[in-house]
């Protein structure tokens, strides 16, 4: 049998556990041996009740947190031995984040927010970065707002800027934590369509945490986390 690492998955988790306060009396294992893999271009929903470990799992997949045991492979590369600098570089190039709140940097304009991941990698801003960010904002229908301070935009607009920012480095994987959770139905639909469009047009893999069943149903498949364990796909 081929190991998951060799199968060309974008993301592979092998027996991942996470224990908080390890070694103390109040130690708490929130993830119990998760195995999962995502293929290129998949659009996957991650569902589960509150406190089931979804966010912890997403943080581990996003390289923001390390698993207590188990292995995490991004495009076949084992991340467990990487130091902080290597993880940061990998995060910058391979993973985009969209959160429930947009978390735009209020000190910067919309286009500068989109440029930020490129700026972090290359240090000095270039015209090419601006052009790329401008194109992404145009795709999101936000050209007119490019030079406005991020804080002046509406919630839906801010979330679309956040999606453009997540796409800036053309990452292999975008992790979205309740991306439409704070939006009205109309904005939520529009944001979801943007994500779907990036998935079909760019082939970006998406893992979307959501409580919204209707939204989950529109994904290619759904993974459910219950009590720190991944149950079989819902559909």
């Amino acid at each position: 049998m081929r190991s998951v690492a060799e199968s060309g998955h974008i993301l592979t988790l092998e027996q991942v556990t996470k224990t908080y306060a390890l070694g103390r009396p109040n130690a708490l294992e929130v993830l119990h041996g998760i195995d999962m893999a995502l293929d290129r271009g998949e659009f996957v929903a991650l569902v589960g009740p509150s406190g089931s470990g979804k966010s912890t799992l997403l943080n581990i997949i996003g390289l923001l947190d390390r698993p207590t045991t188990g292995r995490l492979l991004i495009r076949g590369a084992d991340t467990s031995a990487m130091n902080d600098a290597a993880l940061t570089a990998l995060r910058n190039e391979s993973i985009g984040f969209v959160f429930q709140q947009s978390y735009l940097l209020s000190a910067f304009s919309a286009i500068e927010n989109v440029m930020m991941p490129m700026l972090l990698k290359h240090e000095f801003p270039t015209e090419a970065m601006r052009t790329r960010a401008g194109e992404l904002l145009a795709d999101m229908g936000l050209s007119a707002w490019a030079d406005h301070p991020a804080s002046n935009l509406s919630g839906g607009q801010q979330q679309r800027v956040a999606i453009a920012r997540a796409l800036a480095m053309s990452p292999a994987l975008i992790l979205a934590d309740e991306p439409t959770g704070n939006l009205d139905t109309h904005s939520a639909d529009s944001v979801f369509e943007m994500l779907k469009k990036a998935n079909t047009e760019l082939g970006t893999t998406f893992l979307i945490v959501t409580h919204n069943e209707a939204l989950a149903e529109r994904c290619d498949r759904t993974l459910e986390v219950v009590d720190g364990q991944l149950t079989s796909a819902v559909h």
């Binding site: 947190d65 902080d84 910058n92 209020s106 000190a107 700026l119 972090l120 920012r165």
Partner: protein, 405 residues
């Protein structure tokens, strides 16, 4: 501009009230330092200049005569156990021409000139005043004590029959330029001299007692034919005078005294002043550091979500560290630049408003550009040091915790 500069500036710009407040705080602190420092430098410079206006930086004097014990006492003769200090008669410096030739070859000495100093009486009609007669070689001596700059009437001319006197003596004896004056030396020699110039050194005692004649005139009046009583020197580095004096003593074997030793009290006053100023400077720097640190600590807390999201997007710990260190440097540097302008502005106003009774300036302003370079560098470094703690905190923030808030 790199990412760190852009982000540091944007963060400071966005929190502009905080930025303005701390920059003002730094500016006031640095302003006080610049004001005090410039004033102190000007005052001290002026003070030293006044002290040195009428004296050489280094003086070589003849060795004092001292009592020597008698040798080979015949037995049975007992001498009293009291040694009387011998009187100090006017003596010439031995081999003074050789010494002068030797000193003139040294690179650290600017001017060397022999002088003869003797007590005398200036007599006109039935008025007489005691004076200090200084015999000089005009060309060289005037480069040490700039008498020509203080001349109010006449020319700084010194032929063998000329005398330059102070305004107070001229007033008391009722003489002016061109008038004759009798000078009676302690050796009872009398000369009739013509007043060639009258000076005003701004000091009543000096204006009454100091007089200058040609070296030969003084030598003949003091009965010191061919001799001199002191060798006066100026050095290039005013504050190295004592070092030079010691080296002169060592190389010539004669006693050389620098102005630093002869004005020891003035010097200790100056260094006490300096010390208290340094203490004040230290405390101001400390308060600047705490001000910058407290603003940045608050800023790290306020911006934890920004820091978290930047870290999630791929900002390294070092990039975050530099963003906050730079903010410290900018706050310190900007505050110091404003403070320098503030300090110098205040000093100019003080200088223009606070005047002597006659309306002339209290002291001439001497502000060096190095003061600003020094203040701004020091405040920038202080800012960076003060930012260290908040910057490390920012760099170490766990992105997950930071984003969660």
């Amino acid at each position: 501009m790199p990412f760190e500069c852009i982000t540091a500036l944007r963060f400071l710009k966005e929190g502009r009230m905080q930025t303005l407040a701390i920059v003002s705080g730094v500016a006031i602190g640095v302003g006080v330092i610049v004001f005090m420092s410039a004033m102190l430098t000007s005052l001290q410079g002026n003070f030293v200049k006044r002290v040195l206006m009428a004296q050489a930086h280094i003086q070589i004097l003849p060795p004092e005569e001292s009592a020597r014990p008698l040798r080979g006492l015949a037995s049975g003769i007992i001498y009293a156990n009291v040694i009387q200090r011998p009187t100090q008669r006017l003596r010439s410096i031995d081999q003074w021409q050789t010494i002068i030739a030797q000193l003139r070859r040294r690179a650290d000495i600017a001017v060397v000139t022999p002088t003869v100093s003797a007590a005398a009486l200036a007599v006109r009609g039935n008025a007489s005043r005691s004076i200090t007669l200084t015999g000089i070689d005009g060309d060289d001596y005037f480069r040490i004590v700039r008498i020509p700059e203080y001349i109010t009437a006449g020319e700084p001319r010194l032929t063998s029959n000329d005398i330059i006197i102070g305004s107070e003596l001229a007033r008391q004896l009722g003489v002016s330029v061109g008038d004759k004056l009798n000078v009676i030396a302690a050796s009872s020699t009398t000369r009739s001299l013509t007043v060639s110039a009258v000076f005003d050194l701004g000091n009543k005692g000096a204006n009454e007692r100091s007089t200058f004649v040609a070296l030969r005139t003084a030598q003949s009046l003091a009965a010191l034919n061919g001799g001199v009583t002191s060798i006066d020197m100026t050095v290039h580095d005013l504050y190295a005078a004592e070092v030079v004096a010691q080296s002169v003593s060592a190389s010539t074997g004669v006693k050389a005294e620098s102005w630093i030793v002869t004005n020891a009290q003035l010097f200790s006053t100056l260094s006490a002043q300096e010390m208290s100023f340094t203490t004040i400077q230290g405390f101001v720097a400390l308060s600047v550091a705490f001000g910058v640190a407290s603003v940045l600590i608050v800023s790290v807390i306020q911006r934890s979500q920004d820091i978290g999201i930047l870290r999630a997007m791929g900002a390294t710990q070092y990039q975050m560290l530099r963003v906050f260190l730079l903010q410290g440097a900018i706050l310190g540097g900007l505050g110091a630049a404003a403070g320098s302008a503030l300090g110098i502005g205040a000093l100019s106003v003080f200088h223009a408003v606070v005047r002597l009774q006659d309306g002339s300036e209290l002291f001439p302003l001497s502000v060096r550009a190095s003061l600003f370079v020094w203040s701004i560098s020091l405040a920038t470094i202080t800012g960076v040091v003060a930012a260290a703690l908040p910057a490390v905190t920012a760099a170490r923030l766990d992105p997950v915790d930071a984003i969660r808030g």
